[in-house]
Structure formats: structure tokens, C-alpha cells
Symmetry: C2
Subunit: 223 residues, 2 copies
Amino acid sequence: MPAKPARQRLTEAAFELFEERGYDQTTVDDITERAGVGRTTFFRAFRSKEEVIFPDHEVLLGSIESRLDGADPRTALVAVTEAARLVLRHYVAEGELALARYRLTRSVPALRAREIAGTQQYQRLFREFVHRWLGGGPDTALRAELLAAAVVTAHNHVLRRWLRGQAPDPETEFDAAMADTVALFAAREDEPGTTVVAFRTGKDLSAVLPGLRRLLGDEGALG
Amino acid sequence: MPAKPARQRLTEAAFELFEERGYDQTTVDDITERAGVGRTTFFRAFRSKEEVIFPDHEVLLGSIESRLDGADPRTALVAVTEAARLVLRHYVAEGELALARYRLTRSVPALRAREIAGTQQYQRLFREFVHRWLGGGPDTALRAELLAAAVVTAHNHVLRRWLRGQAPDPETEFDAAMADTVALFAAREDEPGTTVVAFRTGKDLSAVLPGLRRLLGDEGALG
DNA sequence: CACTTATACGGTACTCAGTACCAGACGGTA
DNA sequence: TACCGTCTGGTACTGAGTACCGTATAAGTG
């Protein structure tokens, strides 16, 4: 009975081998052999060989969903950006693992497709949440979709910059990118008013928000 | 020597069988048997079983690229929307084939992932084009990415509505959606001016544009 | 303690996608 | 006739993923 659980040893062995020989040159048998477990155990822990690369995707999806579920409708936009920040933090916390995954997804088309499909799931959660927030009518469907896509795009932009080593402080860049992105939508909310919203605070956005709202007389377009 | 080329007979046989038994329940052998060709011929015509569903994806990518390549920089935004319109027209022209593909991609996760990866390729072309148009600097990278994502999102929104039978006149809806989407970006171009650009013409956008530009004194934010 | 049950693991055998390689059929050309 | 490029079919192989079975250990129950 080994100390580490099988699932963890499998991911470690898999990433090692992918790094050494490449993804296609590594078989599932190779992975299970190095991990010291049976082949059946692999497919019990992961639905497919590709899934080893994204071990806790489901968990991440779940935490996003719960973050959005417990959101005050008055702070809907903040909730979405905070949920996106959750994803960013997760990858940054992974460190070298995230970098290894990035190298793999860039070189193996199948993995790239898989990752894109994964981000689309985040986007779906965002879209449904924003659409509910906008009332759920058919006239707001496109707007919700655009906003969700924009948030995910901005997030991915910053994340990729960090993965490439171009963003030493990703969270600050994230704040700036999100401010730009959300402002895109807030600017047209009331056409002649041109209330350009740009918040660039560090972390506790929900703490700053009440003060901002008081300042603007409770008509600010930042939900 | 049969009348129809092997490739076409394979796609027809494949879509028939997918419709009858489902994607996973259909083997490549089933397809080649119905098409009356050898198994080797299948993998010469298509790189994989999934690729039968998207027979002319490469062609479409090529026509988009050439549409963008021969674009006047002064009409960059129009070029992007027109390139997106190319995709829409392609699917609409496919008719029942596009509907069958939609049914498949909705029910088979692997195909859905594949399709999403495909749209991401369009988005990449758009992003690179817009980025070049904006000067290619690092400060405009996010903006280009957001714009490309927005155009693709708006296109997909209308396309999916048509695929669901909710858009009897997709091109008109496309015009409206694109106008909304592009306006999102044009509105912030010059902050105090609030020149809200919304063109909702039928088809010949490039024909209307010179007049519009004259009207605005050649400072309009619509590239 | 003995007994049952659940759970995790390993092994075997199978299906099927995808690849590599070889061999024949066909049309055009000298 | 002989040569050549191209399209085609057949055979054999690798490897992912599934189904099923047997077993060991741990946890609960009398």
C-alpha cells in the first residue's frame, strides 16, 4: 500500500514521461508502469489519456459555479470577474505544472482542442449567469454571450501572458484587463452619460464597491 | 469506376449511418462498406473519423484568409465582418447537411470539442488581422483579441439561432448583431465624442461606406 | 471474533481508430 | 511494349478505451 494515492502518482508519472518523450510517444502502459499500478487503475482515475493533463478541471468548474450561485445580483459583474480570477489563481498556484501543460497543449493539437473545449465550459457558466442577470429575455441573449466571451478572452489573454513569462504580476494585469473589458460594455449602457467605469483596485473589489456606489448615486452601470 | 468520387460517397454514407445509428455506434468499416470502398481509401480522404463531419473546413479557412489578405486597411472592420458573413453563408448554403452536423455536435462531446477548436481557428485569423490593423503593438493585443472573439461570438450566435430554426433570415440578423457588436468597440474609441456607429444595411456595406465617411468628415471610428 | 459488504486494485480479452507497408489496376507517354 | 505516377484495396500492427472477472483489504455488524 503506497503512501501517495494512485491518482496523484499517475499524474506525476504522466507529466514526467510526456516531458521526456512527448505525448504521442508515451503510452498508457508506460505511465502505469512508472506509477507502479495496473492499467485498469488508470482508466478508473481518468476517463481518457487526455484527461491526465487536466486533472482538476471538474473541481474548478464546480468552484466557479458555487461562486456564481452565491452571488448578489447587485454585484453580478463583480461576481463574474471574481470567478474568472478564481481560475487565474488556480493556474498560477499550480506553477510548474501549469507551465508543463502549456507546453503540451501548444504542441499537441488534440490537447489544444481539449483545453479550448474546457474554457468553453467556463464561458457557458458565465453566459448563463449573465443572461439570468439581464433578465433572461431573447433580446439580451447576444449581449450575455458577448460579455461572457469577453471576460473569458481577457482572462485567457492574461493567463497566456503569464504562461509565456511575460506577466510577472498576473493579478494586477488581470485587474487592468478586466476593467478595460467591462468598461466596453458599461460605456454603452447609458448612451449620453458616458460613465466610464474603471476599477483597478488590488483584491477586495466587493469591499470597495459600496463606497463607489454611494459616490455615483447608485446609478453606476457596474452591477 | 463509380460516377461519384470516393470522398463524396464516403461523406454521404457517413452522415446516413450517423443519423441511423449514432456516431459512436458507427464504425469506419460500416462507412466504407456502405460507400463501397476500401478502408484505406477512407483514411486517405479524411485524416480521422471526426473529420468526415467537417469536410470542407480547410477550404473555408482558406477563403477567409484570402478575403482578409485582399482587404483595404481603411475597411478593416468591414473586412472582418464580411469574412464572418462568408462562414455564415457557407453553412446556410449547406442546408440539411449543416443541420445534421449540428445534431451530431450537440450529442457527441468529442465532435463538439472538434467544432469549437475549428471556430477558434477562424478567431485566430481574425485576431491576427485586427492586430495587424491596430499596429501590432503589445498594447493593442488584448483589444484585437476581444474584437475577434466578439465577432466570432456574434456570428455563432446568429448561426446557432438559424440551426435551431429560430432565424428565418439569418443574414439580416447577422447585420444587426454585427452592428451591435462593432458598436461596442467603436463607442469607446473617442471617449467624449460618443459617436455611436450603427450600420444596419442589407448587403453591400462596402458600397455604403464611402458615403458614410463623407458624412462624418472622415473621422468615423469604423475602420 | 466470525461474517458480510463495500471499495479499490490487477489481469485478461475484446473492439475499434489510426498507421505502415505492400500489391494490383489504370491512364498516359515514349 | 515498357515505364511511370496515381488511385485503390488488402494485411498486419500499435494503442486507446471498455467489459468482465477475481481478489485483497478495510470497515461495519452480529
